[in-house]
């Protein structure tokens, strides 16, 4: 195992994050805080409880997931796309680094960033809305699993994208709608049939449901399903990433 290479990539990616700390941290924290102010404190005060939880507290897990998903994908996709675009990928490809080590370096750094951001948003949310965490261990597990699996997904997008436009398209056209329709702002119970059934095909539903369960002990889908869904998504991304790196798909000239 080339631990030194993993550390080099990890450190490089983290230093890139710290170099643009304002954009990396302040921007998502401020935008999420605005959600808390508008939907939590202002509108939420006029809305009834959902499943016995105040609306302001109900949307916290969903909003944290929204940020984590966006940041994981954004960070990891940029992390691998930029060297492709600038040409510095030649050094990564010529280094004695295996596909797994490459993933650990890039995806590990993106996961760390998302985790730190998620924790920061949770701390910020406490300033606006009081909330409890029923199962802190599982909160951390869901945070970690989600950050890792969507960082991996972002890494795949970064390899797949051959233009800046494509790099932006997937998060904008796929992830944001899936998150908004995944129960971040409402309970799936509130949807009429057949939308309630259709929405179960949205993987983000399982993430938000499981994460919300770790806070308040209530969930729409069984927690085991949530964990299994994330784990399956994670494994699928690992297998695709392995194929992409070994074959050199959109990394090497074919």
């Amino acid at each position: 195992m080339n631990w030194l290479a993993i550390a080099a990539i990890y450190k490089f990616e983290m230093s890139r994050w710290f170099r643009t700390i304002g954009q990396s941290v302040a921007s998502p924290v401020i935008s999420t805080s605005l959600y808390f102010v508008v939907f939590g404190a202002a509108i939420g005060a006029r809305m009834g409880e959902i499943e016995g939880i105040s609306y302001g507290a109900f949307i916290i897990p969903g909003l944290v997931m929204l940020s984590i998903l966006n940041e994981s994908i954004g960070n990891a996709s940029f992390g691998i796309y930029f060297p492709k675009w600038s040409g510095t990928i030649f050094e990564i490809l010529s280094a004695p680094v295996s596909w797994g080590e490459l993933l650990l370096g890039y995806v590990g750094a993106a996961t760390t960033k998302s985790m730190l951001l998620g924790i920061l948003i949770l701390v910020t949310a406490r300033l606006f809305v009081p909330y409890q965490i029923a199962h802190p261990f599982w909160t951390v597990c869901f945070l970690l699993l989600t950050a890792a699996s969507f960082s991996l997904f972002g890494f795949l997008i970064g390899i797949w994208a051959d233009s800046w436009e494509k790099l932006q398209t997937v998060p904008l056209l796929v992830i944001t709608p899936l998150t908004f329709l995944g129960g971040a702002f409402y309970s799936i119970d509130m949807l009429p049939s057949p939308w309630r059934e259709i929405t179960l095909f949205n993987p983000v539903v399982y993430l938000i449901s499981g994460f919300r369960w770790s806070f308040y002990g209530v969930s729409y889908v069984p927690v085991g399903y949530s964990v299994a869904a994330i784990a399956a998504f994670l494994m699928s991304c690992v297998l695709i990433a392995r194929w992409m790196i070994l074959s050199g798909y959109r990394l090497k000239r074919h």
Partner: protein
Amino acid sequence: MSAVMQPEKRAEDAIVSIRGLTKTYANGFSALKGIDLEIRRGEIFALLGPNGAGKTTLISIVCGIVNASAGVVIADGFDNVREFRRARARIGLVPQELHTDAFETVWATCNFSRGLFGFKANPEHIEHVLKDLSLWDKRNDRIMTLSGGMKRRVLIAKALAHEPSILFLDEPTAGVDVELRHDMWNVVRRLRERGTTIILTTHYIEEAEEMADRVGVILKGKIILVEDKDVLMKKLGKRELALHLNAPLSAVPMALTDLNLELQDNGSVLVYRFDAGGEATGISRLLNRLGAESIQFHDLKTSETSLEEIFVNLVKERA
């Protein structure tokens, strides 16, 4: 002439051994057509060829940037696919394009390269490399603030950060001014003196002539020649003797037509061509016969065909 393979020498002195290497790109372009090549330990090998001949593809496959369609590459005893870790750890690559991390400092980027290749941090080595490349004063500068020539030095420093035994230089002095080019040549020579094997591609034939121990010519994906540079110069080179005549001639005298003579500059210069490697140049005989014909001259000059002329002729012949 065909590619020179010397199996009897392979085991002891070949540091890079390439066998049957082919590459056909997805668009059907056949960039390499069965390359066989051996690079000797400790030499400077110049790979020459016109644009699109396959030089960069060849280097890219050896370094792991492009996957081969078929063939085997052994670097310092290790297969570059099956034993890629050990093979790649021994290879350094300076690419043709100036691909650098614009926002990183020179110091950070060199340390990154060393770690990436699996080597523990060694600030003394990085300091030594940067000083050797006259980059020490720039170590805390961001790469984006450096000139093109300096960026190329940074790429060399990065390639040397993990102390490779084989260094590939793909067009190392493209777009570099004359002074810097000579500096680079000195750097390359110093590396060779320390035991690094250097493979360079270049458009500047003068560069190969100046530095290379051996020369390989690649054309349309095939190696058409591998030869010691000095042997090549002797074998294919021509020398000229130019005599500046006291009185211009309208034509080469009939009595001298059996010699390889040509008149230039309106008959005021008589040019005699002979083999560069031959022992008997025929100059004495020429001068005697000129004396017999009462042809007098006030100055004479000898010159040798450059590697560039040899290369151009070779490529023309095979094109």
